[in-house]
Amino acid sequence: MIKDICTVIRVKKIADSIFEMVLEGRIADEVENPGQFIHIRVTEGNAPLLRRPVSIAAVDKKNHRLTIIFRSGGQGTLLLSRKVPGETLDILGPLGNGFPVDKVDSGGTAILAGGGIGVPPLYGLGLKLREQGVKVISVLGFQTAESVFYQDEFASLGETYIATVDGTSGTKGFVTDVLNERGFEADILYTCGPLPMLRALEAGDYARETYLSMEERMGCGIGACFACVCRKKDDPNGHSYKKVCSDGPVFKAGEVLI
């Protein structure tokens, strides 16, 4: 974890309200696992005040570059989407643990199940798994056709299925509808997305092991403020906890209460 001033290399709108940004800086050199995130200060002033956590979607260590993909919605991500190449950003990272990539052997099969803005970190994960010879099946859920992104990128990693809530692209419904319909055989499932999706995937029996990436409102992003804790499943009313920012964001299914 370091703090660095990174340079914006490229900003591109890739779907409805969705932006892809390439950043250059020393943080790229420090990335260990897909699924780690960065904590971005979007302005020098204090409007908005807090940093914004965004997952690393891909890393290019040779060129010291990171790719992030984010939805521009609130005040912070709106400012972020307006940055132009050459501008700099104060970034803290890489943060968190990321997805464990050593839980599946070469030749094994991994399902990547992403929902909306949970899709980005799975792309970096898919690249890494492919590198390790793992077969990747991607199942990506979106609201509607206009919000679909990175379909081709995932397709280049392996079989890729799209689900949209309104049916305007791929299967009508949710990621779980695709999984139930297709009944893939997989060693491991990695997922990131909205809570209802994570809950459904944890409840279902889609692979031998499941890892999920959580979201929570954050203060510090580094484990100091206790803003982002979640309870451990084995002690639901006690004092045990995990911090999403530093113990997570990725947890093994069954470890924390979601």
Binding site: M1, I2, K3, R41, N46, A47, P48, L49, L50, R51, D90, L92, E216, R217, M218, G219, C220, G221, I222, G223, A224, C225, F226, A227, C228, V229, C230, R231, G238, H239, Y241, S246
Partner: protein, 313 residues
């Protein structure tokens, strides 16, 4: 001579800058970013008698120029803090100010007794913003008599000087300050957070699971400065000021208002290097303003001693 040095009851500070309680954990995370031995002191996260899990999430929400938090005093309890955190902190040459909290007077007393015995705890910070279960949840810090009594009992139990942390959610902060001074407080820290709320328009519900939370950050600085100014003119114990400090200029504003040292809370989240940056900038700022020491800045704004004019907004 160290121009940044400040002497306070129980505390020799190499500089007047320290992280505020709850915004720095027990220092472990920040120690990965910089040498936390360079800090003037460290105010560690609140200790309670028993471990606490705290409130449900979401626990934080952003507001214009500030943030709300309702962490709910999550902490591993005084025993564990003494067994695991304080010994770890001993490797750094920095005085620890232990923030203590509770729901009853007895809780506070017991935590004070225990934690003040730790070798690197040089002072206690008594968080009196907590609701008193015996009076139906009214905060200790909003009633002068209760605050004085609590201070007296904690002071009697503590092996080190006691600083009382004032709540700003009161009609007359000077009254509370005088009461804790009478109760034997060695110093005052101020301000804790202002009570606030944000409502989410999608759900129609308060954004924080706890509904209300404590407002901190730059937004509250003018309120904190006003209170430090008023209190410092009316008590003779020193003040550690806080509330929205983000720069050396802000720190100096607190010194001018009457604080003898300054704590940095929320800004640690905005910039994890906030404390060392301010420490580094402070001498340059003094130079720019033609000042030689931190000590000479303290209370500069009220040297005139005119009583404060009342204001009708």
């Amino acid at each position: 001579m160290n121009r940044l040095q400040v002497e306070l009851p129980g505390l020799t500070l190499k500089n007047p800058i320290m992280p505020a309680s709850g915004c720095f954990g027990f220092g472990r995370e920040f120690s990965k970013l910089y040498d936390i031995g360079q800090l003037g002191a460290i105010m560690i996260k609140a200790a309670t008698l028993e471990p606490r899990f705290g409130n449900p999430t979401p626990r934080v929400a952003e507001t214009p120029g500030g943030m709300l938090n309702a962490i709910g005093l999550q902490n591993p309890g005084v025993e564990k803090i003494m067994a695991e955190e304080l010994p770890w902190l001993q490797q750094f040459d920095v005085p620890i100010i232990a923030n203590i909290a509770g729901s009853t007077v007895e809780d506070y007393v017991s935590v004070a007794e225990k934690i003040s015995a730790a070798p690197n705890v040089h002072a206690l910070e008594l968080n009196i913003s907590c609701p008193n279960v015996k009076t139906g949840g009214i905060a200790f810090g909003t009633d002068a008599t209760t605050a004085m009594e609590l201070t007296r009992k904690v002071k009697a139990a503590s092996a080190v000087p006691v600083y009382v942390k004032l709540s700003p959610n009161v009609t007359d902060i000077v009254e509370i300050a005088k009461a804790v001074e009478m109760g034997g407080a060695d110093g005052i820290t101020m301000i804790n957070t202002l009570l606030g709320m944000r409502i989410d328009l999608q759900s129609g519900e308060p954004l924080l699971a706890n509904r209300t939370g404590g407002l901190s950050g730059p937004a509250i600085k003018p309120v904190a400065i006003r209170m430090v100014y008023e209190v410092s003119r009316n008590v003779s114990i020193p003040i550690i000021g806080m509330g929205g400090v983000a720069s050396a200029e802000d720190a100096l504003e607190f010194l001018y208002a009457g604080a003898s040292a300054v704590a940095v809370g929320t800004q640690n989240f905005v910039d994890p290097f906030a404390c060392p940056s301010i420490i580094e900038e402070l001498p340059r700022l003094l130079d720019r303003l033609g000042l030689s020491t931190v000590k000479e800045c303290i209370g500069r704004s009220w040297k005139s001693n005119e009583p404060i004019a009342h204001h009708c907004p």
